[in-house]
Symmetry: T
Subunit: 69 residues, 12 copies
């Protein structure tokens, strides 16, 4: 049966390296406790600045996962 229900949660991942890596970090963290994660959408792109450079990229994403039947 394919009439699935999906839940979305909102996370902020951070990385000193890049905006893409901050997204990957949040997804890796969510995958520790959630199965069936299927997609993400970026909600907000922010960062923390120190000494004229980006110290942390902070990416807020929605993550969607299928609820167990």
């Amino acid at each position: 049966m394919t009439e699935h229900t999906y839940k979305h949660i909102e996370l902020t991942g951070s990385s000193a390296e890049s905006s893409d890596q901050a997204i990957k970090n949040a997804i890796a963290k969510a995958s520790e406790t959630l199965n069936n994660i299927h997609w993400f959408q970026v909600i907000d792109t922010r960062g923390y600045i120190e000494n004229g450079g980006v110290k942390y990229w902070q990416m807020t994403i929605k993550v969607g996962f299928r609820l167990e039947e």
Copy 2:
């Protein structure tokens, strides 16, 4: 005491039949594990297309429920 706190979660329900039914499916699924669900709000109306027809209606909703005191 009536100074309640409510929590909102975001779900996507799907249905081969209609947009209204996709909403009902998501609410029925959420009701399996949550009490005190009071309202929903539609956030996004999408669907999956196959052979020139709507194969699945996909309704993303916010659902609000009262936290236990």
Copy 3:
């Protein structure tokens, strides 16, 4: 002369049956006192939940009507 002026009002219709019917109910109610209603636009789709089902569909619409000259 065709340089008409239109006014828009915002209504919420409710129905136990379907989202489309909640829209029709609001329009029928508005038509009791307003002439020249021409169009509607859906602003918000919500509903009231009881026992894991949709008890009322609540559709908020803008309704446009031509002012008398």
Copy 4:
């Protein structure tokens, strides 16, 4: 190879019957000339009113299809 590119177009379908049917009509019309249509998203829900009832439902959707490789 799965690094596809998709194009989105915006359509308004109309129906005297229901909001869901107006969406189906727009998709059926688009399918006459486009292959590989995969999804739709509702952008706007409007309608034309006559004699206190909904004469036409007008659903504006985005339709996404995969470009040929």
Copy 5:
């Protein structure tokens, strides 16, 4: 290590007293079960009216907390 992940949840707090107090009530309630709450953002300001006065202020907020490492 400072590449933290944060989760956001959405709550509605209510208060008979003031809009600020409704926010405080929601945060106090969330703090009963969540550690590491760091910030909130107001999403919606609403209220329930009775006899020409505000009977309840209803403040919908996003609350962000750091996930345990």
Copy 6:
């Protein structure tokens, strides 16, 4: 019969005292001529400044009331 229709109007209330009081003033004024007012939602928070202080808080709200059957 509970398939009510509600109308929303948009008001700006002002107060020299506080943002909450500006909302209360608008609701009190609307209650002079309307029955069945049930809820409000804040649309815009502005104010007029004089001598480095807030001279008037100006709160724009939507007010919803049930139409007579």
Copy 7:
């Protein structure tokens, strides 16, 4: 006493001549029945096209007026 309450209504004015004139037409029409109109804000700029030209400019505006004390 200066703690006034203002009401906003939404109108669409039309003109064969220009976008500015369509706004002026809506304001002139509203002034036939309302006193104390103070400001407008443009909400939507649309038009009707015939033979490759703009036949009517259709400007949707919010108009604010002070309620009588």
Copy 8:
């Protein structure tokens, strides 16, 4: 049969003269290749500045036209 389908495209017209003229230019250009154009909606109003004056008005519009049956 009146259950038409409409397609919308997005254009930016430019003019050295005025904002209205930039809209007219985009519509005239679109009419060279499209029949059945019925309406436009302004999406963005921008311009290019040179020597403290507006050198080009740049109006981005959506244009709607009826698909052939």
Copy 9:
């Protein structure tokens, strides 16, 4: 001559006391260096949380002031 030009700047004020006070603090700070400040509009309402309470209210506002002629 009354064809004034106004400039808007965006500020975040903070206060341990209340949301209204955070707005007042930002305006007082801006008034140290700017004359002719006329209005503000709230853009974002946030706060910093410690021990289940609001430690700082953080109000982001736009402030408008008249440029000298």
Copy 10:
């Protein structure tokens, strides 16, 4: 070297004559103190009404200029 940085400021220009002229007035005023202004975008279109007519058009724009290297 062409990796320029641009700054945007927000202005409201006013004119008794037309919406386009209010934009031109704001740009002319900004050009008195800023070099390298390249573009504008309209953010808000408002006006002040007196005696059923538009007394002032008030156009809020963002203006972009290149920072000196």
Copy 11:
């Protein structure tokens, strides 16, 4: 003559490598059939997740190109 007209289309590019590469892929694909492409704007940043990692970055962009005169 410089009163050009531009058309915008909406595309989703995908890449297993990075968000920037997904944008480049969509532009390269569009350039196979369109001349005079001048700019893009990101509309949505999404991705497909498998085994706790980003399997595809999916970037939705608007692409603008000058219509032939």
Copy 12:
């Protein structure tokens, strides 16, 4: 004393290399004249296209810095 006031400015940085680098360039430029820069938020992601490739990434950001006490 910790009731700080922050100011936000809007910048567009450009880079031939990547979207992240365009952000870094804007922050580096702002840091030449501003102290106490703490955060940024991405407002718009655009780029200039030449020969089917991205010639410049153009990232518009808000930058927040603490005002001197």
